[in-house]
């Protein structure tokens, strides 16, 4: 198996790191905007599809596939964003009960575990090198798709792209799946960042205790006497 996808991913993370160091505000806003664009595009396509079907008895064949793929992209892009912003839910009952030193240690362990999750799913070769009987991972699957070059079911490239690059009409499956290794690499990277931040006491926890933490924070003690 070739290692060039790994290098590309590493390069991508490095570029991201440099950009975020140089323009932190812009990159943060860009990441949020990307998520909003993905969810809005699903909404636009679905709503357009409803109007087209009931109003004009027509529609876009690939709408369903577009929506489900975009939904997957949203979830995958979101998981690293969730680590970065401490969005993911967890049980904080123990973390709040033990002394601060242990809380920190457990949070560090949590960040390391999240990184482990990302790295194993990305490519388990490194585990195999350690003598564990395991194989496969996102990169391997993606490389296979890239080599075979099959297309997706309904999604097609726009006409001008087809002509410009002389492509077959159907969108390559590897292009749809490319988010998988990228997002897992991002997840590992964000977990590493979280690990460092927790170690440096810049951040307390990896998780949020309950789903309404922001909501409560905004209305904190709104009714206190």
């Amino acid at each position: 198996m070739a290692y060039w996808p790994h290098l590309y991913l590493l390069f991508f993370i490095l570029v991201l790191w440099l950009l975020e160091k140089r323009f932190p505000k812009v990159m943060e806003r860009a990441e949020e905007s990307l998520l909003i664009i993905v969810i809005s595009s699903i909404m636009a396509v679905s709503f357009g599809q409803v109007i087209a079907r009931y109003g004009f008895n027509t529609g876009w064949d690939a709408a369903l596939e577009f929506n489900t793929v975009a939904f997957s992209w949203l979830i995958l892009l979101g998981m690293s964003y969730g680590i970065k912003t401490g969005l993911h839910l967890g049980v904080d009952i123990v973390l709040n009960a033990v002394p601060a030193r242990i809380t920190k240690a457990l949070s560090l362990f949590g960040a390391a575990a999240a990184m482990l999750y990302g790295l194993i799913l990305l490519d388990s070769t490194w585990l195999a090198m350690l003598g564990v009987d395991v194989r496969g991972g996102a990169i391997e699957y993606w490389s296979k798709m890239f080599k075979i070059g099959i297309g997706s079911e309904e999604l097609r490239y726009p006409e001008f792209v087809q002509e410009l690059f002389g492509l077959r009409p159907r969108v390559h499956r590897w292009l749809v799946l490319v988010i998988l290794p990228i997002s897992l690499a991002m997840l590992s990277y964000r977990s590493l960042q979280a690990f460092i931040d927790i170690a440096r006491n810049k951040r307390d926890m990896l998780i949020s205790g309950h789903e309404a933490q922001d909501l409560v924070e905004e209305n904190k003690n709104a009714l206190k006497d």
Binding site: I36, I39, S40, M43, S46, F47, Q49, V50, Y54, N67, T68, V69, A70, F71, S72, W73, L74, I75, L76, G78, M79, G82, I83, T85, L87, H88, L89, G90, V91, I93, V94, L95, L106, S107, G110, A114, Y117, I120, L121, S124, R135, G136, G137, A138, E140, L177, L180, L184, L206, I207, H210, E211, A212, L215, V216, K220, N221, A222, L223, K224
Partner: protein, 537 residues
């Protein structure tokens, strides 16, 4: 043995504070790595596959719809309407709070959002007229849980997706239990109010009620769109959710104008002449009726061959014109102006509003406030979907190891029948609901208990409702009840105090749980009479 390792791994990782999603996912991965010979490629691809469940795609849009509907003004309108309808009973304000929570629950699928939106207004109001803070907080914490029982409900979508039953039937099944739970809470309040001699509001007359209803109507019509669309056979649940989201955005930005560039701009100004306002109102009623008619008749007649779109439009037009004329006639009778001059004078108000809406259409849609609401909705979606995606992974690992079958065989072997089995399910979920987010817990538990339930002849829809009610109670029982945290957060009361305040009403919900568990007809009667029975392969 191996499965014991899997479960204890999950529990340990959960309690030392890993994100729930990571905890489920990592446990599955480690299990596959060390105990099975599956390739991790298939695990990675099934992470991608979470988004391929078309039913789950309804979740982000129900969240978005409720995010737009949660902007302050809607809650206030619902509370006003609720007070106008039940405020005059003894303990009326408290009952109105429950009613407002029920209505809000119908607009949003989320309990904490209900507690915050209704609670911040209603608790303050209750205290002003002399209720104790504890009583008020206890009511809101309990009534807030109705959010996941009254459709549309995200938890129901998750259940339907994970065991493959129809979302439409689940939603319908939640209607009677939802109304019943609300009714039981109100009844309990009434009894307490009689004993404690709590105050009642004065009855302000039907005019007040109608005005409240009109104000809240734009929001409540969302329910009609969702339910009507699904049961008219027009929309899939996912489409209904998308339409609901678009409708909410439109209502919040352009009709209610609680946010965005139109915020604070009223439809009619003080400076408009009386007869102009009457003319304008009349046409508004006409146009609103026409839109409502078009949508409702579309749901009913969409598949009909005999009634065409043109027919519907003509009938709607005639009725709308009649309504507009009637209103203007009635109101203008004491003025000097003729009906025609009223209607003509109303036109400039239309012109002003339409040009206002056109000019600020794009600024409103893409403005900073919209962006924030969209981002909030997206965050909630991400948080839920990350858990669900990993729970799917976990459920997949369980079934690959034949663990659900093993549990089924064991449970049947020791002689569980449907009665004792449902007790076991209730206990399992009540305990589990303490520690896990409801949708994540459902994704894991549902595939395990579902086959057993089918074996014992429990109805799939009924089982779903039992699970949802359990999740509800899990939200208000210590140590980790979401609504308790939220209530304690907004009131500044300590958690222990909130627990104590909520406890009497939790007992009511417990009684309700028993009723729902052992009277299947409560859940199944409505969906099966409308849509026919659910058939499970």
């Amino acid at each position: 043995m191996e499965s014991l390792i899997l479960f204890s791994l999950v529990l340990v990782l959960l309690f030392i504070g890993l994100p729930v999603g990571i905890c489920l996912g990592l446990s599955s991965i480690l299990f596959i790595t060390f105990f099975s010979h599956d390739s991790l490629s298939s695990v990675a691809i099934s992470l991608f596959g979470a988004g391929q469940h078309y039913t789950l795609l309804a979740i982000p849009f129900f969240i978005l719809a409720s995010a737009y509907m949660s902007t302050g003004g809607v809650a206030k309108r619902l509370i006003n309407f609720a007070i106008a309808s039940v405020g005059h009973f003894r303990g009326g304000l408290a009952m109105a709070s429950v009613l407002a929570c029920m209505m809000f629950a119908a607009l949003s699928g989320s309990s904490p959002a209900t507690v915050v939106a209704i609670g911040t207004i209603a608790i303050a109001g209750m205290r002003q007229v002399g209720y104790s803070k504890e009583f008020a907080a206890g009511i809101i914490a309990n009534a807030g849980t109705l959010g996941i029982l009254i459709p549309p409900s995200i938890v129901m979508v998750v259940y339907a997706a994970s065991v493959d039953v129809s979302v439409g039937r689940m939603f319908l099944a939640g209607v009677i239990p939802g109304l019943m739970a609300g009714g039981m809470l109100m009844l309990a309040i009434y009894v307490v109010a009689r004993i404690k001699n709590l105050p009642s509001e004065e009855w302000k007359g039907f005019g007040h009620l109608v005005r409240g209803g009109k104000d809240a109507g734009w929001g409540l019509f969302l329910v009609v769109i969702i339910m009507g669309g699904i049961y008219g056979g027009v929309f899939t649940p996912t489409e209904a959710a998308v339409v609901a989201a678009v409708y909410s955005i439109f209502i919040a930005l352009f009709i209610y104008r609680d946010m965005g560039p139109l915020q604070g701009k009223t439809w009619t100004n003080e400076t408009d002449a009386d007869h102009a306002r009457i003319g304008f109102n009349g046409t508004v009623y006409g146009v609103s009726f026409f839109l409502v008619w078009e949508i409702m008749s579309f749901f009913v007649f969409a598949d009909s061959d005999t009634v065409t779109g043109g027919d519907r439009a003509i009938w709607g037009l005639i009725m709308s014109v009649l309504i507009a004329l009637f209103y203007v006639h009635k109101r203008a009778s004491h003025l000097e102006q003729s009906m025609v001059s009223c209607l003509v004078a109303g036109m400039p108000i239309w012109g002003r509003n339409l040009s206002l809406m056109t000019r600020s259409f794009f600024p409103a849609l893409f403005g900073e406030e919209s962006r924030k609401v969209m981002l909030d909705g997206t965050k909630t979606t991400i948080m839920l979907m990350f858990i669900i995606a990993n729970a799917l992974l976990f459920a997949h690992t369980l079934s690959a190891e034949r663990i659900p079958q093993m549990i089924t065989e064991w449970m049947l072997g020791v002689g569980f029948n449907w009665f004792t089995f449902l007790i076991a399910v209730n206990i399992l979920l009540l305990i589990g609901g303490q520690f896990m987010e409801p949708s994540g817990l459902l994704v894991i538990v549902a595939p395990v208990v579902f086959p057993i339930a089918m074996e014992l002849g429990v109805d799939p829809i009924h089982l779903g409702i039992i699970m949802v009610v359990n999740m509800e109670i899990g939200m208000i029982t210590p140590p980790i009840g979401l609504n308790l945290f939220v209530t304690s957060g907004i009131t500044g009361m300590s958690l222990a105090k909130v627990v104590k305040a909520a406890m009497p009403f939790v007992l009511v919900l417990m009684v309700f749980l028993v009723l729902v568990t052992y009277i299947p007809a409560l859940s199944t009667a409505l969906p099966y009479s409308i849509m026919g029975p659910e058939i499970v392969q």
